[in-house]
């Protein structure tokens, strides 16, 4: 398989690009594998790549019911950051951020990771207290995150309105400079290509229809639209569809799936240099390299697999964007789309073993899974290879819903009084 380089691009240009090989072959399923990943999103493909590259398991299949990268990987707003409050979360997301750095070179595919900074706006005293708490905790955890005054925030992101008379004035901001964006599709494609180069079979358009367990309860393999595929290790990385897949193995999960919308504007010349998030006003935005303003909207209130959101969600979301960035009112919305996000009771992911021997799970990332892609992939691979969780993902187990050891980032940011 051709390695990408300036030379190979030049040479192929001279032969009219007719000699580029397939990035991943159309694999037919074999009878058995050492490990199977269900779900060819960034997380699942990443897990396959790391199984092969880091943990020496190359006889791996990734099984996908649709097209690879077609779930939340291809439907998110590509924000990357690790300035989470709790130690467990900060270590988890920072593991991912460290892998993002250098990922393009590692997998020889430019995923366009752009460390343009993620700035989170504080609009009231409670926000300030909460962000300061994050900043101090991050500093002592070795995660970069700094406080900006309103003027510094405006200098970092000129379209920002810091009018003190605004309904939600900007009182300051927390900035993680290592945060940023990446090109979402490229992450899936890059991992798929890199995994395929190491011998991983990527099997698209092949839905899993059942999970087979032996007399001892352990995993024996998966039933698919293209027949039974045997494996003693199955990792499920199926995002919004996790509940459905897990029920095939007889497991009920603490998950609910909600529609999440996002949208982009028409492309314009560079005007928005970073990522800005406002939890209080419910808006976040960046500008893609193509020039589109990429805007995350909220979830609809009800459980749904329809990938179809409501108009009033968009109305509120765009109103919020225009409130913080009033110069964009004459910009135009070009495209909206919906994903299905799987949400846990404490809004933190589940990544580790399940009560079924040989069955592993990576789910519950809610609205924030993209940023964790390399980390989740690596940790799922580690857990499958060693049959035990890495210390980083150990706290993100299923037991916490029974013993009460929740990791509730959302509650920590909640507003009361």
């Amino acid at each position: 398989m051709t390695r990408f380089s300036a030379f190979s691009l030049f040479a192929n240009a001279l032969s009219s690009h007719k000699k580029w090989p397939q990035h991943w072959p159309d694999a037919a399923p074999k009878a058995s594998y050492d490990a199977i990943i269900v779900g060819a999103g960034g997380h699942g493909l990443g897990a396959a790549y790391y199984l092969a590259s880091r943990y020496g398991i190359t006889n791996v299949a990734v099984i996908e019911k649709g097209w690879l990268g077609g779930g939340n990987t291809g439907r998110n707003t590509t924000i990357i950051r690790s300035n989470y409050l709790y130690d467990e979360s900060a270590h988890l997301y920072d593991h991912a951020v460290k892998l993002w750095d250098g990922l393009s070179q590692d997998i020889n595919f430019n995923v366009m990771y752009s460390k343009r900074g993620v700035m989170m706006l504080a609009h009231n005293v409670h926000d300030v207290q909460s962000f300061k708490r994050h900043i101090h905790a991050n500093r002592l955890n070795g995660v970069d995150n700094e406080w900006l005054t309103p003027e510094e925030a405006k200098a970092y992101c000129p379209p920002l309105s810091i009018d003190p008379g605004a309904r939600y004035p900007v009182l300051g901001a927390a900035l993680q400079r290592r945060g940023g964006t990446a090109r979402h599709d490229s992450v899936a494609w890059g991992y798929a290509r890199a995994a395929a180069r190491l011998g991983v079979d990527i099997i698209q358009n092949c839905a899993v229809t059942g999970i087979r367990r032996g007399a001892d309860g352990a995993i024996e393999g998966v039933e698919t639209e293209r027949g039974f595929i045997a494996s003693k290790k199955v990792g499920v990385s199926a995002a919004g569809n996790t509940s459905v897949v897990m029920q095939m193995a007889g497991l009920d999960f603490p998950l609910e799936s909600y529609p999440l919308q996002a949208l982009v504007s028409e492309p314009v010349k560079p005007v928005f240099p970073c990522v800005v998030m406002s939890n209080t006003v419910h808006a976040y935005m960046s500008q893609s390299d193509k020039g589109e303003l990429v805007i995350g909207a909220g979830t609809d209130q009800y459980v749904s697999y329809s990938q179809r959101g409501a108009l009033h969600i968009l109305e509120h979301n765009i109103a919020a964007i225009c409130e913080i960035f009033p110069i964009f009112r004459r910009m135009r919305m070009l495209r909206t789309w919906g994903g299905i996000v799987d949400v846990t009771p404490d809004r933190s992911p589940i990544l580790g073993k399940t009560p079924v021997k040989g069955l592993y799970v990576n789910c519950g990332w809610g609205t924030g899974g993209f940023k964790a892609t390399p980390g989740a992939g690596d940790l799922l691979a580690y857990t499958m290879a060693k049959d035990e969780p890495h210390r980083i993902n150990a706290p993100f187990n299923l037991d916490r819903f029974r013993n009460g050891r929740l990791i509730d980032e959302a509650a920590a940011a909640a507003v009361a009084h």
Binding site: H91, G102, V111, H126, A166, F272
Partner: protein
């Protein structure tokens, strides 16, 4: 003919000349012209530059499908809009239009170097390169890519326009007012049904506007529709999205076409709920794929027809037509009839309807059957077309100044697809047609496949003798996606239609693939050797065409973005110069600075006034719920951790509310007014959540309980009067209540009169001082406040705000839910074990308190924290460690939740969440700050009047 304006014909008003500029140069058109038609009339062919290769581009379409001619319009004063289509901009006197994505000028654009280097920029090139050296990505490559990309400039000033919004309801919504839509509306015009007819153009008619033979019918029909009382007609209105249950979003453009926009709204968002929807959105012509198909002057045949017959503009004087469909012949004949010179009709097919051929021959039009255009000469405008026979690759050159493409028609099924109706492939159309509906909707006319434009042949690309991998034959004109890009994507394994779209960016431009999707699909089908219906179409997503952010935001901006809740006393605070802070949806007075005071000075003064005299505080925002009924005490007993059944009427109790997972969610002091009546208070931000939670349990878990819950937050204004002199201030105004400490002790409630109005008088204290919370009907809130204020002056009464309230309560170790708790604390963690009824068998959250991790050692607990240096005020949110010298990542024990300067104590105080904190009393812990570390001792949480004698004064 003057320039390209025909001597007659069209619907423009030749008596009304309109002056405008394009790239600073003055032009003149007629009322009824679009920017495209007016500039074409003046001989302009170059309208823009493409996204990637910066190739010169002209007009391709005549409406929403236009991919090339994107224009910025600057009306001044912040009214700047990029990326508008020249084909949709109605000209008005003074219109200031500019081309985009070019530097220094449209004719000479440095970016065009990309076109020369195009072979290095195939689909997905950015994934293959820009990786070496690693640091260059952020510093060099990405900024360069960003600068090259984008189309127009973003607006740089705040938009002065405002936007309207409204709901509409109808029995029948018709989207599209071409002949099919008009017929549907006429049919419904006699009924009682409310009908809304929407069209995106400035006048009704759709395709009929470019067919003069239909104009008499159109005029009659429009008159009939306008006269029908049950029909609402919305022109310049785009139905952009079809949402659940026949809910359609549409945007009406109200002022963009006016020379003076005036003071009305620029646009209006219509949210329409329809019992039935008829989609009559017509069809869009497809371009043909051949080398040079993007040279300015190469355009859709249907567009040329619109310009000629609707606007009276010939797109050329000697026009060649490249057809793969009968409609190209019909358009050529219509143009010829209108006086446009037709250089030739070239058709890729070897047999064409004999009648069409005969008509063309009768007009002496040269005909080339079984021929294709294989190249176009000219850079900024077409000079000639190279043609070639499909069999023998023999050909020649046809001189022409415009080249029309007739590639067949794609029904506009966008809204149908938004509604999740299924689609089916039609070989006749070479396109997908609506199949089974998912809502009460049907498609009529061309978009439903029921109108015929004639026959055609479906092609991915015209035959060419050249190596297809070496030529640029465009599919997506705006994004510069060529046929060979599709080939490359398929070659590299991108076989799903979504992969092909995303890898090549075909269909992702601002026209969202209106002219490119089907051609790409045809090509992919060939490369993959798989039938189109097996490949499928990419999903249509709202909006149908781009829509202004402003229209979605509507009235929700500035003060109306989210309504601000204000207490009845809010205005008084403002008059006194209070500084406000937002708290949940409310705004509250934070402090009352006297001249020259900063917050610190004001708060110190306010605190001392309360401790030594009397302060007055607006507590109206506290949530309040009235709980009434024979089972009220039983209900509260089940909800709160505390016992309620034994509480005597006339007494108050601090209540603690958990979620079912055992964590604190709210608290507040509540009073029993009567055996069957309680007055609860909640946190300011928690009121609605608590009421909803209580209603949930009451209605669904315990429907047998006879209890009623009523929100009374806004019923009662609450004036907190706190301090040793509080009783002295209110005594003269209270009737019917014995205020003596014996008769009315701390944590009691009485009903009576104050200042002549009814009151629920609470003797409670969030400050640790003697105090009252005076509930009066909200309408009297300010009046009572002012009476007390006037009377209090003799006692040195001082207004205080939320900041002082925070300091005073922290001195007493009273927590604020949401500041000192964060959704992870149990009552035991918060030091509130005393508030948990030990004998209660159950309450909400009780079972969770017995879970293994909740009873484990070492949980974070609230404690007091006193810095070794009394002048050091800790930062709220600062983290606490045992060993400040450990390496990063440090083991953190917790954080500072509240921290203030206490003027009363003359030192700083803090509350903190510390792992195992209640077992660390007296221990010194450390707070590492950037560059230094602060030492502090763990203490109890009560810093002032630990015995609690002052409240009993």
């Amino acid at each position: 003919m003057s320039g390209f304006r025909m001597d007659q014909g069209g619907r423009v008003d030749r008596g009304a000349r309109v002056n405008f500029t394009f790239d600073g140069k003055p032009y003149q058109g007629f009322a009824g012209d679009t920017l495209a038609s007016a500039l074409l009339a003046a001989g302009v062919t170059l309208f823009g530059r493409s996204f990637k290769y910066h190739r010169p581009r002209g007009i391709m379409g005549a409406g929403v499908e236009e991919p090339n001619a994107l224009i910025s319009v600057d009306r001044g004063g912040g009214r700047f809009t990029p990326n508008l289509r020249a084909t949709q901009i109605e000209i008005y006197e003074g219109l200031n239009a500019k081309s985009q994505n070019r530097w220094p000028s449209l004719k000479r654009d440095f970016g065009a170097i990309n076109d020369r280097l195009g072979r290095f920029f195939p689909a997905g090139f950015y994934n293959k390169t820009f990786m070496w050296p690693r640091s260059f990505w952020e510093k060099l490559y990405e900024p360069a890519i960003r600068r090259m990309a984008g189309l127009g400039d973003a607006p740089s000033e705040v938009d002065p326009d405002h936007y309207d919004a409204g709901y509409a309801h109808c029995e029948l919504l018709i989207v599209g007012a071409g002949p099919a839509g008009i017929d549907a509306a006429l049919e419904a015009s006699g009924s009682n049904a409310r009908v809304i007819l929407i069209d995106e153009q400035d006048e009704l008619g759709g395709g009929a506007l470019a067919d003069p033979s239909l104009w008499p019918w159109l005029e009659r029909s429009v008159k009939a529709l306008q006269a029908a009382p049950n029909i609402t007609i919305l022109t310049r209105t785009t139905a952009f999205g079809y949402f659940h249950d026949n809910f359609i979003g549409a945007v009406e453009r109200i002022t963009d076409h006016l020379a003076e926009p005036g003071h009305g709204p620029r646009e209006k968002l219509w949210k329409i709920r329809a019992a039935e929807v008829i989609l009559a959105q017509g069809a869009i012509e497809r371009p043909l794929v051949f080398e040079g198909n993007d040279v300015p002057g190469v355009m859709l045949a249907s567009a040329a027809r619109v310009f000629a017959l609707r606007h009276g503009v010939a797109v050329g004087k000697n026009v060649a037509v490249m057809a793969a469909h009968d409609s190209g012949w019909k358009d050529a004949l219509a143009l010829a009839k209108a006086g446009v010179g037709i250089a030739a009709i070239i058709d890729v097919r070897d047999a064409v309807d004999a009648g069409l051929v005969a008509e063309a021959e009768a007009k002496d039009i040269p005909i080339y059957l079984n021929y294709s255009v294989i190249g176009v000469n000219g850079r900024h405008h077409v000079k000639s077309a190279q043609i070639c026979s499909n069999d023998e690759y023999l050909g020649g050159r046809i001189a022409c100044d415009a080249l029309l493409m007739a590639g067949g028609w794609t029904p506009s099924i966008h809204l149908w697809s938004h509604s999740k109706g299924s689609i089916a492939w039609s070989e006749d159309w070479g396109a997908f047609l609506p199949d089974k509906p998912n809502e009460n909707v049907r498609c009529v006319g061309a978009c439903g496949g029921t109108f015929s434009f004639g026959k055609g042949v479906n092609l991915g690309q015209l035959p060419t003798p050249k190596d297809p991998a070496t030529i640029k034959a465009f599919l997506d004109f705006q994004n510069d996606v060529t046929a060979k890009d599709i080939a490359l994507a398929v070659r590299e394994g991108y076989h799903s239609v979504e992969h092909i779209k995303r890898y090549t960016t075909n269909g992702m431009a601002t026209d969202q693939g209106k002219t490119s999707n089907l051609n790409a699909l045809q090509l992919a089908s060939g490369f993959l050797d798989r039938p189109i219906e097996k490949i499928g179409l990419t999903t249509f997503r709202p909006p149908y065409t781009p829509q202004s952010f402003g229209a979605f935001a509507g009235h929700a901006k500035d003060a109306l973005f989210i309504a601000t809740r204000k207490s009845p006393i809010d205005s008084w605070a403002g008059e006194q110069g209070a500084v406000y802070e937002p708290v949940a949806q409310w705004r509250r007075a934070r402090y009352f600075p006297r001249s020259g005071e900063d917050m610190h000075a004001a708060v110190n003064r306010e605190c001392l006034a309360v401790r030594n005299g009397v302060g007055i505080f607006d507590a109206s925002t506290l949530g309040k719920i009235e709980v009434v009924g024979p089972d009220a005490a039983e209900f509260l007993n089940r909800m709160y951790t505390n016992p309620w059944k034994q509480l005597e009427p006339g007494r108050c109790r601090y209540g603690l509310l958990l979620r079912e997972d055992g964590f604190i969610t709210d608290d507040g002091v509540s009073a029993r007014l009567a055996p069957d009546r309680f007055h609860l208070t909640t946190t300011t931000g928690g009121a609605a959540r608590v009421l909803n939670m209580m209603e949930d349990y009451l209605q669904t878990e315990w429907p047998d309980l006879n209890v009623w819950l009523t929100s009374i937050t806004e019923q009662w204004a609450v004036i907190a009067l706190q301090g040793p002199k509080a009783r002295d201030v209110i005594a003269p105004f209270v009737e019917g209540i014995d205020l003596s400490p014996e008769a009315f002790p701390h944590m009691a409630v009485r009903e009576g009169m104050i200042c002549g109005v009814p009151t629920r008088l609470f003797r409670v204290s969030f400050t640790g001082e003697l105090g009252y919370e005076i509930n009066v009907p909200a309408a009297y809130g300010r009046a009572v406040w002012e009476v007390l204020w006037d009377a209090g002056e003799a006692h040195g009464i001082t207004p205080y705000g939320t900041e002082t309230m925070h300091v005073l309560r922290a001195e007493k170790g009273f927590i604020i839910v949401g500041q000192d708790t964060d959704g992870t604390l149990t009552p035991y963690d918060a030091g509130l074990a005393w508030a948990v009824g030990k004998k209660k068998a159950d309450f909400v959250g009780k079972r969770s308190l017995a879970r293994p991790d909740i009873v484990a050692e070492g949980r974070k607990q609230l404690v007091g924290l006193l810095t070794d240096d009394p002048n050091e005020v800790l930062e709220e949110g600062a983290q606490i460690v045992a060993d400040p010298n450990q390496p990063v990542p440090m083991t953190m024990l917790g954080h500072v939740t509240s921290s203030y300067w206490s003027a009363t104590l003359g030192r700083s105080i803090a509350i903190a969440m510390v792992a195992g904190g209640q077992g660390r009393m007296g221990e010194t812990l450390h707070i590492p700050m950037p560059g230094r570390t602060i030492a502090a001792k763990v203490t109890a949480m009560v810093f002032y009047d630990a015995e609690g004698v002052r409240v009993n004064g």
